[in-house]
Symmetry: C2
Subunit: 482 residues, 2 copies
């Protein structure tokens, strides 16, 4: 047991009363992840005001061998920002570091601190007639640091890539407190290993992102949202390939959902209605965008995009949102799938990917396999078909007890789904990360060579193991076995 | 001293006579880099036929502690593929592994072995009406493995990024002979550190790339090449910003050269003539491309692109290539700068970058500083202004003895240029890598935190230090000092 009192005294001296607290009222809200699935304890909540304070605080933690759990908006999906039950770790919140340091409209770059909230970043870009091309449900709480540390995805990855693709430069505090400063972006730099790439998506296990320089894009001139009814997910895949060929860079999103997901949403949202009159096994939501001055061409493009698939019988029915209000209604249906399902009953949710061209076949194969293996469950897959990433949810049999079912049959189901995904050459975490939720599954199913590399890199950059221990990196094989 | 005879016997058994040779006639051509600046010795030349052989061979090298110098087309710019003078290392050539394993036109992906030559890849893509969006002067010899290991650039980085941006998946043999297989690309995968990013650009010091899956793009419908005469490089920068705003994704290249570079080229190529009648301090070569079916809009775009800069007096004169032949003539002028200069006399060449928006000011500041500090030299900068990357050449005073000058005053000049670049927040290697040529300079000027991270990662993934020792990673500070 290290001398916590001495550590806390020194940390308090360093960070001041705003920067360090052990007050349960202030700490407790951050001990549980937002979905309420993980709860831990913490020695204290540290909220440094700037990079220098983060650096000094991490050095102090290293000296006292205190584990650090970095935290942004606490809206992660895998418990990566929640401490364990020991109470020996400190939460290091980056939320106080919420300054946009600079925004250069001409260079289309913004440098902001880790605690800047995504929504705030969007607004800052819009003021300059620019946009930050990544968005997701938690944009009101998710922070830049968290988005980078989890390499977050969202609905624009198809066209613009995940968070990794937005990061031009990074500043991070390493495990010994030293500051890795690669904030000034160089478009070309071949001076050795691209170390910032290792930090992106490392969930705070190799360093703590304190600031970043991100790319911005010109604002869009307009968008056009299409809703299409299809006979199968394979047809949706064919439509996607067609859209990529015809619309090229103007294709910004391509999301799919099965009939029962739409039905659940319509049940859940009494004021919503289906965009199409008939019944279709699958639905696709397609978004096209145009640059400023190109809006008019967009409607033509949408029309011509659908002509051939209609004639070929690929699309059963389709409608183009007449205006922005309708476009938002279409997206609201898509965004309501998860809450609609949660209202139905317990479900196991899997954020999975397989190679893009295999996803339709994977869904067609996996859904009946899961439902046959676990009678009375219902498997549905929806989401980012264009990224080879679906959210694969398995709904509990009617009447299954919430909480209990997830811990018993639910776990078996997840293992079964993860096995299937692995057989298909896919990933058990497409965009939500590993955190604490999937670390055992990663240890079980990860490529041993990749796992060995990960452990080596982790050991090299965090030899004391103080950075977010227990997250992301499965322990050595011997230590990991039960 | 390890027992080389025993090692060679076992390696010969493993790889067979085609796979291993010590024959001086066969080995010698690969002991010197193509620019003739570095020459070494080697124990043998190994040319495995497949990944399994690479794996077994590396494991054997690890057992015998034999250093490995991986080599592709041997057309690198920094001596990264040339062994040292000890004669204790083996050259591991990937050239025999030259198979395109698969090409999926629908998914726009190609999986090829490390030894596939860039030109061959271009041709394979073109057959499917696709293109691989990276090209450079050495395309007839440069291999996929070498391009990945050096994160090669070229003239299309502005629009499509460097080699890193083309790599979807990778297969590599690690220092213990294990095979890291991340060849099947997942568009989204958040299962831990993105290890392939560490291998890209690591110059064979962390692993040996044996195969890769690369992205392909649709073939272009046409291109339009503009030559513009300008009063200054700052005007060129303003024109670039204008082009990015107006042409957006259609801007594929933006290269600049000063008047004296163009004059040197025209002297060097008796059949060439200047695209413009008058004299201009700076010249810009601008390439626009259009997708299939959009060719006609391109000419309109080019015209409208120039209207405002003409009226504002930003562009002094400009001409649009009337046809493909003329477009190629324009590019030939650009591509002939380096050979034209070599014909003049000795020069120190620097491949440098600074933040894109600072490059024009950097050139305007650095050229007179260098020429003042080293009288009778002439500094010229040309190249990829849109990437913040120029080739900054310093020509020797007239009559300076070739060979001798580079080793004396030349070295001082390079140190001076690298100091300047570092002050401006730039990189001493934008696209050519570090190799053995710049490793001491990287040790001298690199950020100590980044260097420490590099050394840690190197030590973690190559604990025996057998992978391309002496390249890219500067030794520990104490060991590096003279």
């Amino acid at each position: 047991m290290t001398d916590h009192a001495e550590f806390l005294r020194r940390a308090g001296d360093l960070l001041g009363p705003r920067g360090l607290t052990c007050d349960a009222d202030l700490v407790t809200p951050w001990l549980t992840d937002w979905r309420g699935r993980f709860t831990g304890k913490a020695l204290a909540l540290a909220s440094p005001a700037n990079t220098g304070e983060v650096s000094a605080f991490v050095a102090l933690c290293a000296e006292h061998r205190i584990a650090i759990v970095p935290q942004g908006g606490n809206s992660g999906m895998s418990g990566g920002a929640t401490p364990d039950a020991s109470g020996d770790a400190v939460i290091l919140s980056l939320r106080r570091m919420d300054r946009i340091r600079s925004l250069y409209p001409e260079s289309r770059m913004v440098t902001c601190e880790a605690g800047v909230i995504l929504q705030v970043l969007h607004e800052a870009a819009e003021k300059e007639r620019l946009r930050f091309p990544l968005t997701l449900g938690g944009k009101g709480s998710a922070t830049v640091g968290g988005l980078i540390s989890t390499n977050a995805g969202g609905t624009q990855v198809l066209r613009h890539g995940a968070m990794r693709a937005q990061v031009l430069g990074i500043e991070a505090v390493l495990a010994d407190g030293s500051v890795f400063d690669a904030l000034v972006p160089l478009k070309k730099d071949n001076r050795g290993f691209d170390l910032k790439q290792v930090l992106i998506g490392s969930e705070g296990t190799l360093g703590i992102v304190t600031a970043a320089t991100l790319r911005l894009l010109p604002e869009i001139g307009g968008r056009c949202v299409i809703w299409a009814g299809l006979g199968s997910i394979s047809d949706a895949r064919q439509l996607l390939v067609h859209c990529e060929r015809v619309a090229g860079e103007r294709l910004e999103g391509f999301e799919v959902m099965p009939a029962n997901s739409l039905a659940a949403v319509l049940d859940h949202l009494p004021d919503a209605r289906s965009p199409l009159a008939g019944v279709h096994a699958w639905h696709a939501l397609i978004e096209l965008v145009a640059g400023a001055g190109e809006e008019e061409r967009l409607a033509d493009l949408a029309e011509s995009l659908l002509t051939q698939p209609f004639e070929a019988g690929l699309v059963e029915d389709a409608t183009i949102a007449a205006n922005e209000t309708q476009a938002e209604q279409f997206w609201r249906l898509r965004d309501s799938i998860a809450p609609a399902e949660r209202a139905i009953g317990p479900a196991m949710q899997h954020d999975i990917s397989v190679p893009v061209e295999r996803m339709a076949r994977f869904v067609e194969a996996a859904v009946p396999q899961v439902e046959a293996r676990f009678p009375h469950t219902r498997a549905i897959a929806f989401g980012h078909l264009g990224d080879g990433n679906v959210h694969f949810h398995v709904l509990a049999p009617a009447g299954a007890p919430r909480g209990q079912w997830e811990e018993s049959e639910g776990k078996e189901i997840s293992a079964f789904v993860h096995d299937l995904v692995t057989e298909w050459g896919g990933s058990i975490s497409a965009e939500h990360g590993i955190g604490q939720m999937k670390v055992a599954e990663l240890g079980r199913l990860g490529d041993p060579v990749a796992l060995a590399m990960m452990r080596s890199v982790k050991q090299a950059l965090d030899p004391l193991g103080i950075l977010n221990p227990g997250k992301l990196v499965p322990l050595a094989p011997e230590a990991a076995s039960p």
